[in-house]
Protein backbone atom coordinates (compact mmCIF):
# COMPACT_ATOMS: atom_id res chain seq x y z
CA UNK A 1 0.00 0.00 0.00
CA UNK A 2 2.77 2.43 0.79
CA UNK A 3 4.53 2.38 -2.57
CA UNK A 4 6.78 5.35 -3.09
CA UNK A 5 5.32 7.88 -5.45
CA UNK A 6 7.97 9.03 -7.83
CA UNK A 7 5.90 10.83 -10.42
CA UNK A 8 4.81 13.78 -8.27
CA UNK A 9 4.60 16.90 -10.42
CA UNK A 10 5.14 20.30 -8.83
CA UNK A 11 4.93 23.63 -10.63
CA UNK A 12 5.57 27.04 -9.13
CA UNK A 13 4.23 30.53 -9.67
CA UNK A 14 4.75 33.78 -7.77
CA UNK A 15 1.52 35.17 -6.41
CA UNK A 16 0.69 38.85 -6.89
CA UNK A 17 3.48 39.45 -4.41
CA UNK A 18 7.04 38.58 -5.54
CA UNK A 19 7.95 37.41 -2.04
CA UNK A 20 5.27 34.73 -2.11
CA UNK A 21 5.29 31.55 -4.22
CA UNK A 22 2.54 29.03 -4.83
CA UNK A 23 3.42 25.36 -5.35
CA UNK A 24 0.79 23.46 -7.33
CA UNK A 25 1.18 19.74 -6.69
CA UNK A 26 -0.27 16.77 -8.58
CA UNK A 27 -1.14 15.01 -5.31
CA UNK A 28 -2.88 16.05 -2.14
CA UNK A 29 -0.49 17.07 0.62
CA UNK A 30 -3.12 17.73 3.23
CA UNK A 31 -6.82 17.01 3.06
CA UNK A 32 -7.93 18.63 6.28
CA UNK A 33 -8.72 22.07 4.85
CA UNK A 34 -6.24 24.93 5.00
CA UNK A 35 -3.52 25.38 7.61
CA UNK A 36 -1.51 28.56 7.86
CA UNK A 37 1.61 29.21 9.92
CA UNK A 38 3.45 32.46 10.49
CA UNK A 39 6.31 31.25 12.66
CA UNK A 40 8.51 28.28 13.42
CA UNK A 41 6.79 28.02 16.78
CA UNK A 42 3.31 27.80 15.26
CA UNK A 43 4.53 25.18 12.81
CA UNK A 44 6.02 23.00 15.53
CA UNK A 45 3.18 20.48 15.42
CA UNK A 46 3.16 20.16 11.64
CA UNK A 47 6.09 18.34 10.11
CA UNK A 48 6.01 19.80 6.58
CA UNK A 49 5.56 23.39 7.72
CA UNK A 50 8.20 22.98 10.45
CA UNK A 51 10.74 21.70 7.90
CA UNK A 52 9.96 24.51 5.44
CA UNK A 53 10.55 27.04 8.23
CA UNK A 54 14.09 25.69 8.58
CA UNK A 55 14.88 27.25 5.18
CA UNK A 56 16.36 30.72 5.56
CA UNK A 57 14.07 33.78 5.14
CA UNK A 58 10.67 32.02 5.34
CA UNK A 59 7.89 34.14 6.87
CA UNK A 60 4.77 32.03 6.33
CA UNK A 61 3.62 28.66 5.07
CA UNK A 62 0.13 27.72 3.97
CA UNK A 63 -0.84 24.13 3.25
CA UNK A 64 -4.20 23.37 1.64
CA UNK A 65 -4.98 20.31 -0.48
CA UNK A 66 -2.72 20.29 -3.52
CA UNK A 67 -1.33 23.76 -2.88
CA UNK A 68 1.49 24.95 -0.66
CA UNK A 69 2.17 28.70 -0.49
CA UNK A 70 5.45 29.94 0.92
CA UNK A 71 6.31 33.58 1.71
CA UNK A 72 9.73 35.04 2.39
CA UNK A 73 11.37 38.25 3.64
CA UNK A 74 12.77 38.99 0.17
CA UNK A 75 12.22 37.73 -3.39
CA UNK A 76 15.81 36.89 -4.30
CA UNK A 77 17.03 33.54 -5.64
CA UNK A 78 13.68 31.75 -5.61
CA UNK A 79 14.98 28.56 -7.26
CA UNK A 80 17.23 27.80 -4.26
CA UNK A 81 14.08 27.84 -2.10
CA UNK A 82 11.65 26.17 -4.51
CA UNK A 83 13.98 23.19 -4.97
CA UNK A 84 14.24 22.61 -1.22
CA UNK A 85 10.49 23.06 -0.68
CA UNK A 86 9.70 20.69 -3.58
CA UNK A 87 11.91 17.99 -2.02
CA UNK A 88 10.19 18.46 1.34
CA UNK A 89 6.75 18.23 -0.29
CA UNK A 90 7.68 15.02 -2.10
CA UNK A 91 9.11 13.50 1.10
CA UNK A 92 5.96 14.52 2.95
CA UNK A 93 3.66 12.85 0.41
CA UNK A 94 5.71 9.67 0.72
CA UNK A 95 5.79 9.73 4.52
CA UNK A 96 3.20 8.17 6.79
CA UNK A 97 3.02 11.27 8.97
CA UNK A 98 0.27 13.81 8.30
CA UNK A 99 1.51 17.17 6.91
CA UNK A 100 -0.47 18.97 9.60
CA UNK A 101 -1.18 17.29 12.91
CA UNK A 102 -4.68 17.31 14.38
CA UNK A 103 -5.22 20.28 16.62
CA UNK A 104 -2.03 21.95 15.40
CA UNK A 105 -1.86 25.64 16.08
CA UNK A 106 -2.76 27.48 12.90
CA UNK A 107 -3.10 31.20 12.50
CA UNK A 108 -5.71 30.77 9.79
CA UNK A 109 -8.08 33.70 9.96
CA UNK A 110 -11.82 33.36 9.45
CA UNK A 111 -13.38 34.87 6.30
CA UNK A 112 -14.91 37.57 8.54
CA UNK A 113 -11.49 38.54 9.91
CA UNK A 114 -10.00 38.50 6.42
CA UNK A 115 -12.80 40.73 5.15
CA UNK A 116 -12.28 43.18 7.99
CA UNK A 117 -8.52 43.43 7.43
CA UNK A 118 -8.95 43.62 3.63
CA UNK A 119 -11.38 46.51 4.04
CA UNK A 120 -8.94 48.32 6.30
CA UNK A 121 -6.17 47.90 3.72
CA UNK A 122 -8.41 49.19 0.92
CA UNK A 123 -9.52 52.20 2.93
CA UNK A 124 -6.04 53.09 4.14
CA UNK A 125 -3.84 52.28 1.15
CA UNK A 126 -5.78 51.72 -2.04
CA UNK A 127 -8.90 53.82 -2.21
CA UNK A 128 -7.23 57.15 -1.44
CA UNK A 129 -5.02 56.69 -4.52
CA UNK A 130 -7.58 55.23 -6.93
CA UNK A 131 -9.96 57.99 -5.88
CA UNK A 132 -7.72 60.45 -7.70
CA UNK A 133 -8.80 58.65 -10.88
CA UNK A 134 -12.42 58.62 -9.78
CA UNK A 135 -12.23 54.96 -8.88
CA UNK A 136 -13.38 52.96 -5.91
CA UNK A 137 -12.68 49.37 -4.91
CA UNK A 138 -14.69 47.37 -2.43
CA UNK A 139 -14.64 43.88 -0.99
CA UNK A 140 -17.71 42.02 -2.16
CA UNK A 141 -17.14 38.72 -0.44
CA UNK A 142 -14.56 36.41 1.09
CA UNK A 143 -14.89 32.67 0.60
CA UNK A 144 -12.31 30.74 2.62
CA UNK A 145 -9.17 32.62 1.51
CA UNK A 146 -10.35 33.92 -1.85
CA UNK A 147 -11.25 37.59 -1.93
CA UNK A 148 -13.80 38.92 -4.43
CA UNK A 149 -13.51 42.62 -5.17
CA UNK A 150 -15.67 45.01 -7.09
CA UNK A 151 -14.08 47.91 -8.88
CA UNK A 152 -16.41 50.86 -9.22
CA UNK A 153 -16.39 54.47 -10.37
CA UNK A 154 -13.62 55.19 -12.87
CA UNK A 155 -12.15 51.69 -12.43
CA UNK A 156 -15.12 50.04 -14.06
CA UNK A 157 -14.25 49.17 -17.64
CA UNK A 158 -10.83 50.79 -17.39
CA UNK A 159 -8.13 49.00 -19.37
CA UNK A 160 -5.74 49.42 -16.44
CA UNK A 161 -8.13 47.71 -14.01
CA UNK A 162 -6.39 44.34 -14.13
CA UNK A 163 -3.01 45.99 -13.53
CA UNK A 164 -4.39 47.96 -10.61
CA UNK A 165 -5.80 44.74 -9.25
CA UNK A 166 -2.64 42.64 -9.64
CA UNK A 167 0.04 45.23 -8.88
CA UNK A 168 -1.82 47.35 -6.39
CA UNK A 169 -4.70 45.66 -4.64
CA UNK A 170 -3.45 42.09 -4.56
CA UNK A 171 0.03 43.08 -3.45
CA UNK A 172 -1.24 45.35 -0.69
CA UNK A 173 -3.71 42.74 0.53
CA UNK A 174 -1.09 39.98 0.52
CA UNK A 175 1.26 42.14 2.59
CA UNK A 176 -1.26 42.04 5.42
CA UNK A 177 -2.91 38.72 4.54
CA UNK A 178 -0.25 36.30 3.27
CA UNK A 179 -2.69 33.39 3.46
CA UNK A 180 -4.82 34.73 0.60
CA UNK A 181 -5.43 32.31 -2.22
CA UNK A 182 -6.76 34.54 -4.96
CA UNK A 183 -8.02 38.07 -5.42
CA UNK A 184 -10.72 38.04 -8.07
CA UNK A 185 -12.43 40.91 -9.84
CA UNK A 186 -16.18 40.49 -10.13
CA UNK A 187 -16.74 43.80 -11.89
CA UNK A 188 -18.73 43.77 -15.11
CA UNK A 189 -16.32 46.06 -16.95
CA UNK A 190 -18.65 46.51 -19.91
CA UNK A 191 -21.92 47.04 -18.04
CA UNK A 192 -23.66 49.91 -16.34
CA UNK A 193 -24.56 53.30 -17.67
CA UNK A 194 -21.12 54.84 -17.60
CA UNK A 195 -18.23 52.41 -17.99
CA UNK A 196 -14.85 54.02 -18.60
CA UNK A 197 -14.55 52.05 -21.82
CA UNK A 198 -17.51 50.98 -23.90
CA UNK A 199 -16.56 48.07 -26.14
CA UNK A 200 -17.43 48.50 -29.79
CA UNK A 201 -20.35 46.38 -30.88
CA UNK A 202 -19.22 43.68 -33.28
Amino acid sequence: MSATKTDIMISTRLTGNPTSCRFQISENVYEGGAAFFQSKEEAAGSPLAAKIFEIESITSVKIAGKVVTVSRHHPEDWPSVTRKVAELIKAQINSSEPAVKDGAASSMRSPEEIKKIANEVLDAEINPSVASHGGHIEILDVKETTVYVKMGGGCQGCGQASNTLKQGVERALRDKLPELDEVLDTTDHAGGTNPYYAPSSK
Binding site: R13, L14, W78, P79
Partner: protein, 124 residues
Protein backbone atom coordinates in the same frame (compact mmCIF):
# COMPACT_ATOMS: atom_id res chain seq x y z
CA UNK B 1 -9.62 31.47 -44.24
CA UNK B 2 -7.39 33.66 -42.12
CA UNK B 3 -5.23 31.98 -39.51
CA UNK B 4 -6.20 32.65 -35.93
CA UNK B 5 -3.52 34.26 -33.79
CA UNK B 6 -2.61 31.98 -30.91
CA UNK B 7 -1.63 32.92 -27.36
CA UNK B 8 2.08 33.73 -26.84
CA UNK B 9 3.59 30.62 -25.25
CA UNK B 10 1.78 28.10 -27.40
CA UNK B 11 2.41 30.28 -30.42
CA UNK B 12 6.07 30.52 -29.57
CA UNK B 13 6.42 26.81 -30.21
CA UNK B 14 4.70 27.05 -33.57
CA UNK B 15 6.42 30.24 -34.64
CA UNK B 16 9.78 28.84 -33.66
CA UNK B 17 9.91 26.59 -36.72
CA UNK B 18 9.38 29.56 -38.97
CA UNK B 19 11.27 32.29 -37.20
CA UNK B 20 14.99 32.45 -37.73
CA UNK B 21 15.46 34.57 -34.60
CA UNK B 22 13.92 32.06 -32.20
CA UNK B 23 15.17 28.92 -30.50
CA UNK B 24 12.93 26.55 -28.54
CA UNK B 25 13.56 26.06 -24.81
CA UNK B 26 14.33 22.30 -25.13
CA UNK B 27 17.04 23.07 -27.66
CA UNK B 28 18.69 25.53 -25.29
CA UNK B 29 18.50 22.88 -22.58
CA UNK B 30 20.31 20.51 -24.94
CA UNK B 31 23.02 23.11 -25.57
CA UNK B 32 23.48 23.55 -21.81
CA UNK B 33 23.57 19.79 -21.19
CA UNK B 34 26.10 19.33 -23.96
CA UNK B 35 28.17 22.18 -22.47
CA UNK B 36 28.13 23.73 -25.93
CA UNK B 37 30.12 26.91 -26.41
CA UNK B 38 27.49 29.63 -26.36
CA UNK B 39 26.44 32.58 -24.22
CA UNK B 40 23.06 32.77 -22.55
CA UNK B 41 22.09 36.38 -21.88
CA UNK B 42 19.18 37.49 -19.68
CA UNK B 43 17.84 40.86 -20.84
CA UNK B 44 15.29 41.34 -18.03
CA UNK B 45 15.82 43.82 -15.17
CA UNK B 46 18.39 43.22 -12.47
CA UNK B 47 15.60 42.70 -9.93
CA UNK B 48 14.00 40.02 -12.09
CA UNK B 49 17.40 38.40 -12.67
CA UNK B 50 17.98 38.28 -8.91
CA UNK B 51 14.57 36.66 -8.33
CA UNK B 52 15.35 33.82 -10.72
CA UNK B 53 17.32 33.12 -13.87
CA UNK B 54 18.37 30.17 -15.96
CA UNK B 55 21.55 28.72 -14.48
CA UNK B 56 24.58 29.91 -16.38
CA UNK B 57 22.90 33.03 -17.76
CA UNK B 58 24.60 36.43 -17.74
CA UNK B 59 22.68 39.58 -16.89
CA UNK B 60 22.67 42.02 -19.80
CA UNK B 61 24.21 44.99 -18.02
CA UNK B 62 25.18 48.05 -20.05
CA UNK B 63 28.82 46.96 -19.82
CA UNK B 64 28.07 43.47 -21.11
CA UNK B 65 26.02 44.79 -24.04
CA UNK B 66 28.87 47.13 -25.02
CA UNK B 67 31.33 44.28 -24.72
CA UNK B 68 29.21 42.05 -26.96
CA UNK B 69 28.85 44.72 -29.61
CA UNK B 70 32.48 45.85 -29.56
CA UNK B 71 34.56 42.86 -28.58
CA UNK B 72 32.80 39.56 -29.19
CA UNK B 73 33.54 37.74 -32.48
CA UNK B 74 30.65 38.10 -34.88
CA UNK B 75 30.24 34.34 -35.15
CA UNK B 76 29.63 33.93 -31.37
CA UNK B 77 26.56 31.91 -30.56
CA UNK B 78 24.38 34.13 -28.38
CA UNK B 79 21.00 33.14 -26.91
CA UNK B 80 18.94 35.92 -25.37
CA UNK B 81 15.89 35.57 -23.20
CA UNK B 82 13.40 37.86 -21.47
CA UNK B 83 10.18 37.26 -19.54
CA UNK B 84 7.82 36.10 -22.30
CA UNK B 85 9.75 36.35 -25.53
CA UNK B 86 8.92 39.49 -27.48
CA UNK B 87 11.73 41.78 -26.33
CA UNK B 88 14.44 39.14 -26.62
CA UNK B 89 13.34 38.44 -30.18
CA UNK B 90 13.82 42.11 -31.03
CA UNK B 91 17.20 41.95 -29.28
CA UNK B 92 18.22 38.95 -31.39
CA UNK B 93 17.07 40.76 -34.51
CA UNK B 94 19.25 43.76 -33.74
CA UNK B 95 22.24 41.54 -32.99
CA UNK B 96 21.76 39.80 -36.35
CA UNK B 97 21.56 43.21 -38.03
CA UNK B 98 24.92 44.08 -36.45
CA UNK B 99 26.40 40.96 -38.00
CA UNK B 100 25.93 38.39 -35.23
CA UNK B 101 24.45 35.73 -37.45
CA UNK B 102 24.21 33.18 -34.59
CA UNK B 103 22.04 35.29 -32.27
CA UNK B 104 18.68 33.89 -31.22
CA UNK B 105 16.05 34.37 -28.52
CA UNK B 106 14.33 31.69 -26.44
CA UNK B 107 10.77 31.39 -27.77
CA UNK B 108 8.41 32.36 -24.96
CA UNK B 109 11.21 33.56 -22.67
CA UNK B 110 11.88 32.31 -19.14
CA UNK B 111 8.13 31.73 -18.82
CA UNK B 112 8.31 29.03 -21.52
CA UNK B 113 11.45 27.68 -19.84
CA UNK B 114 9.53 27.25 -16.57
CA UNK B 115 6.68 25.58 -18.40
CA UNK B 116 8.72 23.21 -20.55
CA UNK B 117 12.02 22.63 -18.77
CA UNK B 118 12.16 23.68 -15.13
CA UNK B 119 8.85 24.12 -13.26
CA UNK B 120 10.76 25.06 -10.10
CA UNK B 121 11.70 28.39 -11.64
CA UNK B 122 8.53 30.20 -10.59
CA UNK B 123 6.41 31.79 -13.31
CA UNK B 124 5.23 35.31 -12.64
Amino acid sequence: MTKKIKIPIKAAKAVEEENEFLIAAPEVKKLLDEKAKFSLVDIRTEAEFKMMHIEGALLATRDLVEEIFNKWPKDSQVVLYDHTGAQAMMGAQSLVKKGFSNAKAIAGGIDAWSEAIDPLIPRY
